[in-house]
Symmetry: C2
Subunit: 462 residues, 2 copies
C-alpha cells in the first residue's frame, strides 16, 4: 500500500502551486449567499468551480438551475464494479460582519506563517478545493479507483433549500453507495477525526401577545399582560437554571451512546473540555447529570438566540409592548424526530403561558439528527485512510452542530455517509479573521485521495 | 361666589379665539426635546411661550439658560399677604414615531368635531396654554388674587435634568407656598379628578455576560453560559407568573392607603377597570391579592421594557451571545426610597444569577414617589374650584406614573403641591394621533382661573 500512497503524495506535492492558485482565486470571490447584493458574486464562484471540475477532466459538468443558487454537478463513472461515491461541498460563505473586527480584507486572502486568512478559508472553500484536486490528481495519475459524482451547493450558509428539493426529486440519477460530506472539522492539526453523527434541529420563533397596543408602564404596569415578562417566564420554565430541560417526554427518545462510542470519547474528553473552556474564557456549565461531551454530542439542548420586542435603544423608555418574540432552538439526537419535538415544545409552552397572554410558535426550520454506523465498510475505510495520512489513531466523534443535508443524502440515497473536513474549531468559521492551516489543507487533499483509494478497495460495495 | 366666577367665565369666553390661536401656534412647533435635530424648534417654542408670558403682562419674563433646554421664568408678585403659587408646565413634546400611524401631520393641528389633533395637544401644550391664559385673563380683568411664579421647562420628555438642578440651586428665589403642576390627567370629560400621589421609579439596565465571544449553539450549546437564558431566568425569578414581586424586603416599606383614600377610590373602580380593559383589549391581570386600583396606585410594580442582545433580525441564526441586556423598571409608592430599592434588586439579581454568568445593574434613572396631603388647604381649595367648574364631585386619585419634578418642588420649596391637567388617558399622549377635547381644554382655562381665585381665599397661607 505505501508505494501507491507515496505516488499520490508526490503527485499532489507537484501540484501545490496550482491547487493554491485555485484556492486563493475562490477565496477572492465574495460568494455570500445570504445577501442578495452578492448574487452575482455567488454565480461567479459557481462558474469558477465549474471550471475546476472541467480542468479535473470530470464529465457531465453542469450548472443545475434551481429556485435559489445553482447546484453544480459533475461525474466520472468509468470504474465498473467499484462503488460510486457522491462528493458534497459548498461554494458559498457567511457574511463578514462585524467587518471592523477583521485585520485584513475578508476577500483578499493573506498568508501569514502557515495560515491563509479569508472568509471561507475554513468553511468550506478549503474542503471544496481539496476534494476536486484530490480527484483531479488521481485522474491525472491514471484512473480513479471509484466512480464519483460531485454535487456542490451554493446556499449551505443561507437556506439550503435547493439541494434538499433536488436530492429528493432526483434520487435515481444521483444513485451512490457512499456519500462523502466534505464539510466537517478536525480535532487538532495533528489529530484526525471522523464524525459519525451530528444533531438535528428545531428552530422556532415564539411569539407572545398581550394588549392590543403598546402601553405606558406607569398607567398600566401591574395590570397589563407583559409579553416580554411572559417570554422570560416561559424560557425560564423550559430549563432549570442548571441547564436541565424540563419538556416532558423529550428525553424518552434519546438513544444512549454505546459502550464502544464511550470508549472512543473518553480519550477525547480532556482536549474537548480544555479547548472549549479556553475558547469561551469561562468554565463549562450545564446539566449536572451529564458530562460535557455527552451534553454536546449525545443530548438534546435548548438555547435562546434573541429576544425581539420592546425598547432596544440606549436610554430608558417605559413601554409595555403589545407583542414580543424570542428565537430559540432545540438540537436533537438520535432517535428524536423534530416534528414530534415541536409538538412537545408547543404543549409545554402552552402550559407555561401566563394569564392574559397568547402564544404562537412559528417553525423556522427543522432537520433530522444524523447518525451513521462507524463499523460500516466505508467508515472503516475512511478511518484507515486518515490514520495513514496523519500516522495517528483517528478519533471517532459526534458533532454538536447540524448538517441536515447529510441525513437527506443518507436516507434518500440509502448510502453510507461519511463527514470529513480539515478546519479547526478555532479557525474562526463564520467569524472575523477566518483562516486555515495550509499544511493541514494540503494534508486534506492527500487525505481525500487516500479515502477514494480506500473506498475502491471495499469488496462488493456495488 | 357665583358672580365673580361668572365674570371669569365670560371674560375667558371672550378670549377663546386668541387662546386657540396661541394653542395652535405652539402645536405647530415640533419641540421634540429628545431629538437634537429639533433643538432649534425647541428654542422656537420656548421663545413663543416667552411671548405669551409677556402678553399676559407678567414681569421678569426670562429665558434661563441651562446645560440642556432653557427654563422659562415669569412672575407677578403684587398681592401682599396672599400666597405665592408656582405654576409648572412644559413646552417640549415626545417624538412622533411611528409616523406612519398618524392620520395627519403631527405638527399641523387639525380640528375634527370637538377635538384638536397634534403632537402635544394633550401633553402638555394644552395645560401650558391654559395656565398662562387663565393668569392673563385674571390680570386683564383687574388683578391677580395671588402672587404667581411661572417655571416652565423644555425637557420633561427627555432628561428633566435642567429643572431638577435649577430648583435645588435656586430654592430661595423660587420660594412659594403652593406648587401647581399643570401636567396631569382627568378621569373623563365630565369627571374632574385631582391626583395627590404618583409613583417613584428605579429604571435599570441589567447586563448579563457569559463567554468572551459569541458562540455557535451547535458546538457550544449545552456547555456554554447563555446570557439571554440567564436574563430570562432572573426576570422570571423577580415575579411569579401571576404578577407578585418576589424581592425580599420590597413590600415592607409600602404605606397602605388610608380608609379615607379607599372611600374615594371605591367610587372610581368600575370606570377605572372598564376603561383600562377597553384600552388594552384584554382583561386586567396581576397580583391576585391586590385589586387593580391598588396595583396601579398603591403598590410597587416591576415591568420589563426590552431585551437587547442576540439575533434580532428575520430568519434564524444559532448564536449564543457573549452579552445581553434587559431594561426594567420598578414603580415605587410611599414610603419607598429608590436607592434602597435598587439595593434590594441588586441583592435579588445576584441570588438569581445562574452559574457561569456575571451580572451588572446600571442605574438609568431614579425618582421619588410623590404624595401630598389631600386635606391641606391648597388641595381642598383645588377640589372646590374644580367641583364648581364641572358641577360635579371631584375624584381624588393617585396616579401610576411618575412625575419626579413634583416631589422635588414639594420637598425643596416645602410647598403644598397640586397636580392637575385636562388630558384623558385615551387622548393618545406619547402615541399617534394625540388629541385633546377642545371644550375640556377651555374648561381647563376656566378651572385654572378658579383655582388661583380659590388659593387667594386661603386665610393665612403666607
Amino acid at each position: 500500500m505505501t508505494a501507491v500512497h507515496d505516488d499520490i503524495t508526490m503527485h499532489i506535492e507537484g501540484r501545490h502551486a496550482a491547487i493554491l492558485e485555485d484556492f486563493q482565486a475562490l477565496l477572492r470571490i465574495p460568494s455570500i449567499s445570504a445577501l442578495p447584493t452578492h448574487d452575482a458574486d455567488t454565480l461567479r464562484a459557481a462558474d469558477y468551480v465549474l471550471g475546476m471540475l472541467r480542468k479535473a477532466n470530470l464529465e457531465h459538468v453542469q450548472r443545475i438551475e434551481t429556485d435559489g443558487k445553482p447546484l453544480l454537478y459533475a461525474d466520472w463513472l468509468h470504474a465498473p464494479g467499484r462503488p460510486t461515491v457522491l462528493l458534497y461541498a459548498h461554494y458559498d460563505v457567511q457574511p463578514v460582519d462585524p467587518r471592523s473586527e477583521w485585520n485584513s480584507d475578508p476577500f483578499a486572502p493573506v498568508i501569514e506563517d502557515d495560515y491563509i486568512i479569508a472568509r471561507g478559508a475554513c468553511d468550506d472553500k478549503n474542503n471544496l478545493t481539496a476534494i476536486i484536486h484530490a480527484t483531479a490528481a488521481l485522474l491525472a495519475e491514471g484512473t480513479l479507483p471509484v466512480n464519483v459524482r460531485f454535487l456542490i451547493e451554493g446556499e449551505e450558509e443561507s437556506s439550503g433549500e435547493a439541494i434538499e428539493a433536488y436530492v429528493r426529486a432526483h434520487a435515481q440519477e444521483l444513485a451512490s453507495d457512499i456519500v462523502l460530506i466534505a464539510d466537517g472539522g478536525i480535532a487538532g492539526h495533528d489529530q484526525p477525526q471522523l464524525e459519525y453523527g451530528c444533531r438535528g434541529m428545531v428552530y422556532v420563533e415564539l411569539i407572545a401577545r398581550g394588549s392590543q397596543r403598546d402601553l405606558h408602564s406607569g398607567t398600566y404596569g401591574g395590570n397589563a399582560p407583559n409579553p416580554l415578562f411572559a417570554l422570560a417566564t416561559i424560557i425560564a420554565g423550559l430549563k432549570k437554571p442548571d441547564g436541565t430541560i424540563t419538556i416532558p417526554g423529550l428525553m424518552k427518545t434519546v438513544r444512549p451512546p454505546s459502550e464502544a462510542e464511550w470508549a472512543n470519547w473518553r480519550k477525547q474528553i480532556p482536549r474537548f473540555e480544555a479547548d472549549m473552556a479556553a475558547d469561551m474564557g469561562t468554565p463549562l456549565v450545564g446539566d449536572p447529570v451529564q458530562s460535557p461531551i455527552m451534553r454536546a454530542w449525545a443530548q438534546p439542548t435548548l438555547e435562546v438566540h434573541g429576544f425581539v420586542g420592546g425598547f432596544q435603544d440606549d436610554g430608558s423608555k417605559t413601554v409595555i409592548p403589545a407583542e414580543a418574540k424570542v428565537k430559540l432552538s432545540l438540537r436533537l439526537v438520535p432517535d428524536q424526530d423534530p416534528a414530534q419535538v415541536l409538538k412537545l415544545l408547543q404543549k409545554r409552552v402552552a402550559k407555561l403561558t401566563p394569564p392574559g397572554i397568547t402564544t404562537e410558535i412559528v417553525n423556522l426550520g427543522m432537520g433530522m439528527p444524523f447518525f451513521t454506523d462507524p463499523t460500516s465498510p466505508a467508515f472503516k475505510a475512511s478511518v484507515q485512510a486518515l490514520g495513514a495520512e496523519f500516522e495517528k489513531e483517528v478519533w471517532l466523534a459526534r458533532a454538536g452542530g447540524s448538517v441536515p443535508i447529510a441525513t437527506t443524502l443518507q436516507t434518500v440515497l440509502g448510502a453510507d455517509t461519511v463527514m470529513v473536513g480539515f478546519g479547526l474549531e478555532n479557525d474562526g468559521a463564520h467569524g472575523p479573521n477566518e483562516h486555515t492551516h495550509l499544511p493541514t489543507f494540503f494534508r486534506g487533499v492527500r487525505s481525500f485521495a487516500r479515502m477514494l483509494r480506500a473506498f475502491g478497495e471495499i469488496p462488493g460495495a456495488h
